[in-house]
Subunit: 298 residues, 2 copies
């Protein structure tokens, strides 16, 4: 990861921490075992990919910093809740996440289910109740509509359901792409959509190009995930290596082979860069982000 | 239940069904096993207490019918998701709900977790994306703020967490009241708050009186629940009788005895009616609702 991007990632992580603290104060979240579990899930590191993407895109499009932070916290709440629930014994049954015990191991299953549920509510509390710029005030319900769509029946939950159904089954490449577009792509795309929604300057052409861009990196992210599951090791990944294969999941690697998956990754990478090149903005930071997405090691 | 109230309940139930169908069409929810589970959880009957309360209050306050239906569906999505998750083996471990297999028994645990998650997203998709009257368009984020607050760290999830922590423990009556205000009261209160939010006519006095009213019936609801758990039978309740005692839970009955709980119910009932009497509206239907709340047998 480049120094510039690393600094932006640290900034995005700090913004999540401080915006969550303001949210707990403003909304009077009082100390409780549930809040402990929520903080454990939300604030124990992670790559902050979605907030980083939202922040870089929003800054490029002249969105207000506070608006970006509020939207970033909301999307990270959704992402964190999905990890907590996906790790549950009835789902992927993972004990380790980011090198630490998963939420249900650290606490218990009931607390993990509730922490995930509360994180989802917090995402929408955040978007509906946290202070925003005058411009973004009028965009609250649009931001909520984008995030709710990406989270539920037309996004992440549907994708996770299809993923569970596909476990142990052979599914077509088209179905695999659709599954991942819903499971991880939709939320990544929503980071870009929310940033665009917060921009007073982005026009329809920009919106369309960024949509192409975010679809490409969403897919690239998953292809790289599948490659890493096979080629990286547990210490680097922070979760068991080879777990997709052990769980009998179709992946881009099982479909295309390792080289084929790498080639498919390159195709998405180039499509993403091509979309960026056509934008009338300084896309340097988004290019760094895109390079990182396809070159990341965990 | 009086004939008038029964008719209103049927109407509220029909509105949930038809509004959910319009939502699935408008938002392109396609057929899937997850949608089956969501529909199973949402559309398999239930008393529709919150939509009924929202609808009666909203109608009394001259809110628009379509707005009421959208808000009612949203609140019922939250309520349904909470039942699906509360029934899970790691939580209350109930096999029966409304006389039918619970979601994780009918499908499986993973599907039940995801169906609950998706129902929560749908609640916020519904409030942010479904058509509303011109007046309510400007109230979307307020409606969302009310519902998100009632659902998460300051409401239902926090209450359920406190309830689990209290299982097998003796807690004070004050803590029991606080627990239930969060676990079930917050969502019942939000039905009234959302209805008031949708009203172009309700003033601050009305808002305050209805807040007193909804707090009283929220507590009355739980006291009656505890009484029924001891005095009703499985066939009438649609769930195992005496499960609170078996699970070692503090209830209003364990604290106050059966007669003491009945007396406490009367106090809340009278407080609710007293608030209604001061309202400058025709409160006949709300009175019927209140009578039903304290006299219900399941």
């Amino acid at each position: 990861m480049s120094k510039v991007l690393k600094a932006l990632q640290t900034e995005a992580n700090d913004a999540i921490q401080s915006t969550f603290i303001s949210l707990t104060k403003r909304l009077n979240y009082t100390s409780s075992p549930l809040l402990d579990a929520v903080e454990y899930a939300l604030l124990s590191g992670g790559k902050r990919m979605r907030p980083l993407l939202l922040s870089i895109t929003g800054t490029m499009l002249s969105a207000n910093k506070q608006d970006i932070n509020v939207a970033s916290l909301a999307i990270e709440c959704i992402h964190s809740y999905s990890l907590v629930h996906d790790d549950l014994p009835a789902m992927d049954n993972d004990d380790l996440r980011r090198g630490k015990p998963t939420c249900h191991i650290k606490y218990d299953e009931a607390t993990a289910i509730l922490a995930g549920d509360a994180l989802q509510s917090s995402a929408f509390e955040c978007l509906s109740s946290m202070p925003l710029s005058e411009y973004a005030q009028t965009k609250r319900h649009e931001l909520i509509a984008i995030l709710a769509k990406a989270s539920g029946m037309r996004g992440m939950c549907q994708g996770q359901s299809l993923d569970l159904l596909a476990t142990g089954e052979t599914i077509s490449l088209d179905d695999l792409i659709k599954l991942h577009q819903l499971k991880t792509g939709a939320l990544i795309e929503s980071a870009v959509s929310m940033a665009t929604c917060l921009s007073p300057t982005a026009n329809e052409d920009t919106r369309k190009l960024l949509s192409v861009y975010s679809k490409a990196i969403g897919l690239a992210f998953q292809i790289q995930d599948d490659i890493l599951d096979l080629t990286s090791d547990t210490a680097t990944l922070g979760k068991p290596q080879g777990s997709d294969l052990i769980n009998g999941k179709s992946t881009f690697v099982t479909h295309l082979g390792l080289q084929g998956a790498k080639d498919a990754l390159t195709v998405q990478y180039e499509e993403a860069l091509h979309a960026l090149e056509q934008l009338p903005y300084n896309t340097e930071q988004l290019k760094l982000f895109t390079q990182y997405m396809v070159a990341r090691t965990h």
